[in-house]
Amino acid sequence: MNWFSLITATSFMPVPATKESGDVDSLYIFLLVSGLISFIILIGGMVIFIFKYRRKTEDQKSAYITHNTLAEFLWSFIPFVIMMIIFAWGWSVFHDLRRVGEKGDVEVHVTARQWAWTFKYANDIEINSPSDKKLVENDPDSTLLKPEIVVVPVGKTIRFILTSDDVLHSFYVPAFRNKMDAVPGRRTTFTFTPIEKGDFTVFCTEYCGTKHSNMMATIRVVDGEQFAAWQAEKIAGMAGANNKGPAERGEALFKGSLGCSGCHSIDGSRIVGPTFKGLYGNKRDFADGSSVTADDAYIKQSILVPTAKIVAGFPPAMSSFQGRIKEDEIKDIIEFIKTLK
């Protein structure tokens, strides 16, 4: 890195961590320098004129100049040429960022959902981010949650295949200079080749509701062996999870892939939806004035047809899990809810 890019692009942007991001930074430096020169010409000219042609006497006359064809041609044509350069350069960089259809060495299916990301590797390893722990522990007012870590190998082409379960989200990694919307009902791709090892933050940049700013993940770029070791460890962990009891499996679903914890707390606090603490076996009051005692049937109905009974004081914001949850998973969740006294 020379001094030039130090004072410009890279001084505020995160370290360029992928093959493509260096090219974006070069374009950025060009934009910054050409923009700065244009700004100095325009505003510098203006400031000089203000001082030089300041009205000094009340009857001071001005020159009568209506137009100048050559000057006008030049100041239309030169910006045009510069903008065409910026356009073409932008296009070539864009092409590298997109790489639609190119298969990756590592492929991960990413599902966005209010307000979490699920990363699923080909061998069924699954990461759900963020976790339910606070990111900034010493700040009691912080609402950010600690991102879970998604590991990828350095130097390989990684393709994330994005989709969304509910609304629009957008997958953004500043250090990669890349972002892509996650659109319900569609698949989009986010392809990158990491060249720096380290942890990189993922943000959601398409406004997606209450906890939009909370929707983070961390991509950890490591070398090939560490990646293989991480995968092996995860697979061993999955085998262990299968031996767990139903309530523990339910807890994993609750906090993990189903993402219930995004809206429902288990400690009695109010998030988006009602808390599950003390739910089972107790009375629920509904917006329409009716009420029932929460039992297996009620919980199952709430998962599959959330709009059937709306708890008083909450918006009908939950969407159905029909098709996304299996019968025995519902049983596990109910077992877990039973433990929340």
Binding site: P14, D23, V24, L27, L31, G35, S38, L42, I43, M46, F49, I50, Y53, R55, Q60, K61, S62, A63, Y64, I65, T66, N68, E72, S76, M83, I86, W89, G90, W91, V93, F94, D96, L97, Q114, D141, S142, T143, L144, V167, L168, Y172, P174, A175, N178, K179, M180, D181, V183, G185, R186, T188, T201, T205, G209, K211, H212, S213, N214, P315, S319
Partner: protein, 527 residues
């Protein structure tokens, strides 16, 4: 005072005579009062939004409340302040006078536009008390259609009605410009303010119906479950973005073209010089209006639209940059060998050019696909559009206010007050929005309630700047009240303007002109 002159202000008396007036000048004042109230409300929301962002984590409100304030700030400012602002207030007041007409072509329609704005604003505003909306001013589906409350319906219904107000004003201005020009006033002799309003009017008439239809479709989906945008019903969520930006991109020019018109007037008058490149400025307005219909896709480079579409939209967007640059060059060339006075309105014009240049240049960054991918939906975009729209439109609005104030009221607006207000607004603007470019570089996304601790200092700077801007506008408001109560008598032409409004008394008589003026030359003949 011994002899009171007969003018449009004392022509009739009583509140009722105002509410039923057909006089374009009085309607302009009614717009001023209404829009400034909306501006005040939008401004309070802005200050609250910035206050919340003073520290990471919860500072004052919960995330829900923050999202609502952010939505109301945006929706009020865009639909109720910046879009109608200059055309409805100053366009109404000066356009007929500038072309030598007695009134607009359809005075009743003009009054009706005002009522439409009020009704729309009332319906939109009612959601503040009924059910708050938290979608952001862009109302993107499927969040707006399935994931949030029913308040969205009255909200967009209000915007729909406000849209009609905009269409009617536009229609009125087009016909007025074509039909009511004084003898000798050819299209190549109308003041540049009129050209700007005319180009704006074309955009209003052609683009706004698209927004109207889009909002109706959204309401249809939300109430009847018709599947248009919601993928669960077989709709396409990205379609909404296409429709929305098909209106809202031209709309950003609806916001800025009138401001450009104001700047042309100010630069000519305060440089006491014939405007440089009249034809280029006039026709570049039309060019901008035309091309701006073809660039909406630059808001969607990362939406999943095809790479080819992205490239095409990037190319056309670059083309809009050219006429925009031409205007800047022309204004600066007008100052060359001029006789420049730095009165408050000229300071606002200079502030406009300064902020607009930064806004326009950063627009080029965003128009370049490869670069936009990084900046899209970050604070860089927030900074960009505040520099162009707010720096542009509000600077011009303040300049216009002080410049035409004597004509409208017969009293001079204190130049000193204007300058002090300028210092606060101008410096406040840069302190508020420049750090946001850097936040964008660092990767802070927009519409964030909470942020990483690394973004703290820049956010605090930005919040501090917002207080400066707020102070500046309060001083500006104080200037209005002070001038109304204690202002000096203005006379017909206090600043040496050359356009027709400066040839008639201040305040103007009910029918503007005693006898129809006859034009023999262009509008800025300072020799």
């Amino acid at each position: 005072m011994a002899h009171e002159q007969h003018n449009y202000l004392n022509h009739q008396k009583g509140i009722w005579s105002w509410l039923t007036t057909l006089d374009h000048k009085r309607i302009g004042i009614m717009y001023f009062v209404a829009i400034m109230s909306f501006f005040f409300l939008g401004g309070v929301f802005a200050l609250l939004v910035r206050a919340e962002l003073f520290t990471p984590g919860k500072t004052l409100f919960s995330a829900d409340v923050y999202n609502r304030m952010m939505t109301y700030h945006g929706a009020i400012m865009v639909f109720m302040v910046i879009v109608p602002g200059i055309p409805a207030i100053f366009g109404n007041f000066v356009l007929p006078i500038m072309i030598g007409a007695k009134d607009v072509a359809f005075p009743r329609l003009n009054l009706m536009s005002w009522y439409m704005l009020m009704i729309g604003a009332a319906i939109t505003g009612s959601t503040l008390f009924l059910e708050n909306v938290d979608t952001g001013w862009t109302f993107y589906t499927p969040y707006s259609s399935i994931k949030t409350g029913l308040g969205v319906i009255p909200m967009v219904l209000g915007v729909f009605i406000i849209g009609f107000s905009s269409i009617l004003t536009g229609l009125n201005f087009i016909v007025t410009t074509h039909k009511l020009r004084a003898p000798g006033m050819t299209m190549n002799r109308i003041p540049l303010m009129v050209w700007a309003l005319y180009s704006t009017a074309i955009l209003q008439v052609l683009a706004t119906p698209v927004l109207a239809i889009t909002l109706l479709l959204l309401i249809a989906e939300k109430t009847l479950g018709v599947g248009i945008f919601d993928p669960q019903l077989g709709g396409d969520p990205v379609l909404f973005q296409h429709f929305f930006w098909f209106y809202s991109h031209p709309a950003v020019y609806i916001m800025i073209l009138p401001a450009m018109g104001v700047i042309s007037e100010l630069v000519a008058t305060y440089s006491r010089k014939v405007i440089f490149g009249y034809t280029a400025i006039a026709y570049s307005s039309l060019a901008i209006a035309g091309v701006s219909f073809l660039v909406w896709g630059h808001h969607m480079f990362v939406s999943g639209q095809s790479e080819f579409a992205g490239i095409l939209f990037s190319f056309i967007t670059m083309l809009v940059g050219v006429p925009t640059a031409i205007k800047l060059f022309n204004w600066i060339a007008t100052m060359y060998k001029g006789s420049i006075r730095l009165d408050a309105p000229m300071l606002f014009a200079i502030g406009f050019m300064f902020l607009f240049t930064i806004g326009g240049l950063t627009g080029v960054y965003l128009a370049s696909t490869g670069m936009d991918v990084h900046f899209h939906d970050t604070y860089f975009v927030v900074a960009h559009f505040h520099y162009v729209m707010v720096g542009g439109t509000l600077m011009a609005l303040m300049g216009a206010l002080i410049y035409w104030f004597p004509k409208v009221t017969g009293k001079i607006y204190s130049d000193l007050t204007g300058r002090i207000s300028w210092v606060f607004i101008f410096s406040g603007f840069n302190v508020t929005f420049f750090p946001q470019f850097i936040l964008g570089n660092m990767g802070m996304p927009r519409r964030y309630y909470d942020y990483l601790p690394t973004f703290t200092e820049l956010n605090q700077m930005s919040t501090f700047g917002s207080w400066l801007i707020g102070t500046g506008f309060l001083i500006g408001l104080f200037g209005v009240i002070y001038a109304l109560l204690k202002g000096k008598e203005a006379g017909n032409n206090p600043f040496g303007g050359k356009t027709l409004e400066w040839t008639i008394p201040s305040p103007p008589p009910h029918e503007n002109f005693e006898s129809t003026p006859v034009l023999t030359g262009g509008p800025y003949e300072y020799r």
